[in-house]
């Protein structure tokens, strides 16, 4: 049937098929809404699946394997040096992506979510026009819309992506393993990708404008990571600015300004990892009442509703932290709100994990944030040298840190650094959300010998009765 330009009336249009968008669309369909999901890629999953979380974890998994094999030598098990077939690794990563993409398509179909290919733009009077390259445009009249268009890697002026300059998307496609890689930006993206290339054999240098890696992350957690990365990477230059780049026939010369950094450095490849920017420019938001803040994020309330009551915004477009699981949680809230259910996005703890080696993971409030809110908090730290499992793994450099409200013993936040910290965080996140007190954690039996014991031990330490650490002196 030829639809021509006749608008189709639907309950909900979701713009963007990333983790936030598809979670919103699936939930909305389950709640009985006639739902259209607009996605410009040929498959669902967004940046996360295609050029973010998933491929980076596939590569980081291989990087960890290389590290473990190298370190096994200390324990008396030696492997030969790894031989990396970049093309094969690329294809292997792509197979994981394709498989997950097909899974999402199947799940969308089962639910009756109508996935429409193209780019959606708001028009007047509650309409969205979806245009695509090789098909006539389609117009949808919506009762509600959810903007979930995500973000793109931020760029530096004068550093356009090209053969010698990568952004995270380019680096994840593993075009080559450069001999010398300069990573601009010491945030989680730069450190994760730097780790991958270091493991694959690149000589990696990191420059960070601020005076510490992972700006904004608790220093107790960053210190053990920085120590280990210092061994993986050739150089880490903090408080250093990239001032110029010159491309020569065979390499790239960069000029640096910062204490301890050389004035000039020759590298083969440059990776710009200076954060991400929300994609809200070309959505036709001027035809709605939705408002953006100066950084381009769409302003939303607890339901993730914009100043235009018909329109919600979730995920990276709705503000920090730009994390897939936060987007999914928001998507489910917005879908429920669009279906008229009482819903609100009010987590106590949004878990965050940096998948480096060691991993850094945290949720809830660290001391500084608690104090900023006027809460009297007390932190306790259990070094992993007190964990039998960590020592047996040869990784006693980790740390478990719990932040409690001093008076009630209520758990406010959890910080971890060490192998598998990202997986260990789950218990802590649940405990924060449940409003658990130290006695709850201490009274929960933790498996021996696992790294999770350090959480129970930290709670015991707060209560003044640790087992594997000397009792605190009063």
């Amino acid at each position: 049937m030829v639809m021509g330009e006749l608008p189709r009336e639907v309950d909900l249009v979701v713009l963007g098929g990333g983790p936030g968008g598809y979670a919103a669309a699936f939930r909305a369909a389950d709640l009985g809404l006639d739902t259209v999901l607009v996605e410009s890629r040929s498959a669902l999953g967004g940046e996360c699946l295609h050029v973010g979380c998933i491929p980076s974890k596939a590569l980081l998994g291989m990087a960890a394997l290389i590290h473990d094999a190298t370190e096994a030598e200390n324990a008396g098990v030696a492997f030969g040096p790894p031989r990396v077939d970049a093309a094969k690794l690329r294809a292997w990563t792509q197979r994981s992506i394709d498989r997950l993409g097909r899974g999402l398509a199947a799940v969308a179909k089962v639910r009756g979510v109508d996935v429409v290919a193209g780019r959606g733009r708001f028009e007047k009077d509650g309409a969205i026009r979806v245009s695509q390259d090789d098909a006539p445009p389609a117009t949808f009249k919506f009762k509600h819309a959810i903007v979930a268009t995500g973000s793109r890697p931020a760029t530096l002026p004068g550093l356009e992506v090209g053969p010698r300059v990568w952004d995270s998307t380019a680096a994840l496609s593993l075009p080559s393993v450069p001999a010398r890689l300069l990573v601009v930006g010491g945030g989680y993206i730069g450190l994760e990708l730097g780790s991958v290339y270091a493991a694959l054999g690149s000589e990696v240098t990191v420059v960070e404008l601020l005076d510490g890696l992972l700006p904004g992350v608790d220093r107790d957690l960053v210190t053990p990571l920085a120590r280990r990365l210092g061994k993986q990477f050739k150089h880490i230059f903090l408080g250093t600015k990239l001032t110029a780049t010159h491309e020569t026939a065979t390499a790239l010369t960069v000029e640096l300004a910062g204490e301890g950094a050389p004035k000039q450095l020759e590298v083969d490849q440059l990776l710009v990892a200076v954060g991400r920017r929300p994609l809200t420019d070309d959505l036709g938001l001027e035809h709605t009442h939705a408002q953006r803040d100066p950084r381009g994020f769409i302003v939303v309330d607890a339901q993730r509703r914009t100043a235009d009551p018909r329109i919600f915004a979730i995920g990276d477009v709705a503000g920090e932290p730009m994390l897939a699981h936060k987007a999914m949680a928001e998507g489910m809230v917005a879908a429920a709100a669009a279906a008229g259910r009482p819903a609100a996005f009010e987590p106590l703890a949004i878990p965050a994990v940096v998948f480096t080696d060691p991993e850094v993971a945290w949720c809830g409030l660290m001391e500084a944030q608690a104090h900023a809110r006027g809460i009297e908090a007390r932190a306790v730290k259990v070094p992993w040298s007190a964990s039998g499992r960590a020592v047996a793994m040869g990784r006693s450099d980790g740390l478990t840190k719990l932040v409690f409200e001093k008076a009630s013993g209520r758990l406010l936040g959890v910080g971890l650094v060490g192998p598998h910290a990202g997986d260990l965080l789950a218990e802590g996140t649940l405990a924060v959300e449940m409003g658990a007190v130290a006695e709850d954690l201490a009274g929960t039996i933790h498996t021996h010998p696992t790294l999770s014991e350090t959480l129970g031990e930290a709670a015991e330490l707060f209560l003044g009765r640790p087992i594997h650490l000397p009792p605190p002196r009063d």
Binding site: H289, Q291, V299, V300, D301, A302, Q303, R305, T306, A307, D308, P309, P342, A343, A344, E346, L348, R373, G374, I375, E405, S408, G409, R410, L412, E433, M434, G435, V437, E439, D440
Partner: protein
């Protein structure tokens, strides 16, 4: 500088209004005092006249939007003659000096950055609180470390205090009224809910439609609930023989036809009420809670309940005691028409001291009307019917009008109410008194 028309102070403590329709467009040339917007406040629909003339540059509002006093409604283009700074003085009676501009409230206000310790409650408990409409920051948790438990939320939802047993302990689906009191309930104090329990999901039993309560209906709902909750109502029923009154009314109705003034029964009821109120001042009063005094009003303004498309509205006839029947009839006719067209002014709607609600046109033998707070009495009127009446030992057909006088028992006792009611009946049965004593 470009002139702006802001939502003026509407009086009566009203802080916002809903835009019903915008009567002008950007680019329109308008004249001073031209109606530019139709707005609905909690009290009335009113047309807003523009305080100045000129070309409309931008219309900042649209139908359906709620705006606060001071919000910019229209801006005007700088015209060649825009030196008329003095014309910014509002011309409309309702438009006093506009307060500093307040931005239009967006439906989705940005969430404020959090401070302090967020309430400790599990995600499941928080969801329960959302469903029951309970604000967790107002709930005291009784769990470890002050954690808010499901029971605490149920208790808050039913308005109970800590220590009182929750209505549905540990079972969200059981309704307390559905289960007979078991041994566990024996001896526990009865909880009188002051907050409303949440509604069941009606969709589970069949299709439903939801209709928002708009300003007037919403305001009525709140106002009537307040009156019913605060005032101990007692209703005194009586009957008036209005055979003679009806004969007279019909006679003068015909004669007055050329003047086209409608002599309705309500006109006589209003007049009778005013006379009775003068003789019984406690019915023309308000109770001042703050001082514990009875405020006896020496003016007699009778409100008349009018059904409109937007809901029930009670416009007021002022100074009824000093007005004749024809004058009241003429005023009532225009007042009712204005109200039905949604053009009642705020002045029309306030200052009542007593209310008459006549539903007789639709039938009924009696009702228990709710007093229009802060008044202390209201007269409900049913349908008059030819009725066999025993008079001097013989049965005669008479036209009998049922009257229901609801009064505030804090202020008026039953004997006084009987006297007032008898006075009213006497006035209606001897209609010449309405002229002699009015």
């Amino acid at each position: 500088m470009a002139k702006e028309f802001k939502l003026p102070d509407l009086g009566e403590g009203l802080t916002e209004a809903e835009i019903v329709s915008v009567l002008v467009h950007a680019g329109d040339e308008i004249t001073e005092d031209q109606a530019v917007l139709l707005v609905e406040t909690e009290k009335a629909q009113v047309e807003l006249p523009s305080p100045f003339g000129g070309r409309v540059a931008t219309v900042h509002v649209q139908a359906g939007q709620r705006v606060k006093v001071g919000a910019v409604l229209l801006s005007f283009a700088d015209g060649p003659g825009s030196t008329v700074a003095a014309s910014t003085a509002p011309a409309a009676a309702a438009a006093r000096t506009a307060k500093p501009a307040v931005t239009v409230t967006p439906a989705g206000a940005p969430s404020t950055p959090p401070t302090g310790l967020p309430p400790a409650a599990t995600p499941a408990t928080r969801r329960l609180a959302r469903e029951l409409g309970v604000e967790l920051s107002h709930v005291r948790g009784t769990g470890p470390g002050g954690r808010i438990l499901d029971e605490d939320v149920h208790r808050a939802a039913s308005g109970g205090r800590p220590g009182a047993a929750p209505a549905a302990r540990g079972d969200r689906t059981s309704s307390p009224s559905a289960s007979p009191a078991g041994p566990a309930e024996m001896g526990r104090p009865l909880v009188v809910p002051t907050a409303l329990p949440s509604l069941p999901r009606f969709e589970q039993w069949g299709p439903v439609e939801r209709e928002p309560l708009r300003n007037i209906r919403r305001r009525s709902a709140e106002h009537l609930a307040l009156a019913w909750a605060v005032i101990p109502h007692v209703t005194q029923h009586d009957q008036a023989d209005i055979t003679e009154l009806e004969t007279m009314r019909r006679r003068h109705q015909k004669r007055g036809a050329e003047g086209s003034v409608d002599l309705t029964l309500t006109v006589f009821l209003v007049k009778a009420a005013a006379i009775a109120l003068r003789a019984h001042p406690r019915f023309n009063a308000s109770l001042d809670h703050a001082t514990g005094e009875l405020v006896l009003k020496r003016y007699y303004n009778v409100g008349v309940a009018v059904e409109t498309d937007q809901g029930l509205v009670v416009p007021v006839l002022r100074g009824v005691d000093g007005k004749g029947i024809r004058e009241i009839a003429a005023e009532l006719a225009t007042l009712v028409a204005r109200t039905r067209e949604g053009r009642a002014t705020l002045e029309d709607l306030r200052s009542g001291t007593f209310t008459v609600t006549n539903t007789g046109a639709l039938g009924g033998t009696g009702a228990t009307p709710i007093i229009n707070y802060p008044e202390v009495a209201i007269l409900g009127v049913g349908r008059s019917r030819p009725t066999p009446v025993v008079r001097d030992g013989a049965i005669v057909p008479r036209l009998i009008l049922p009257l229901s006088l609801a009064f505030d028992h804090r202020v008026i006792d039953g004997m006084e109410a009987a006297r007032f009611s008898t006075e009213l009946v006497g006035l209606l049965e001897a209609p010449e008194r309405l002229f002699l004593e009015g």
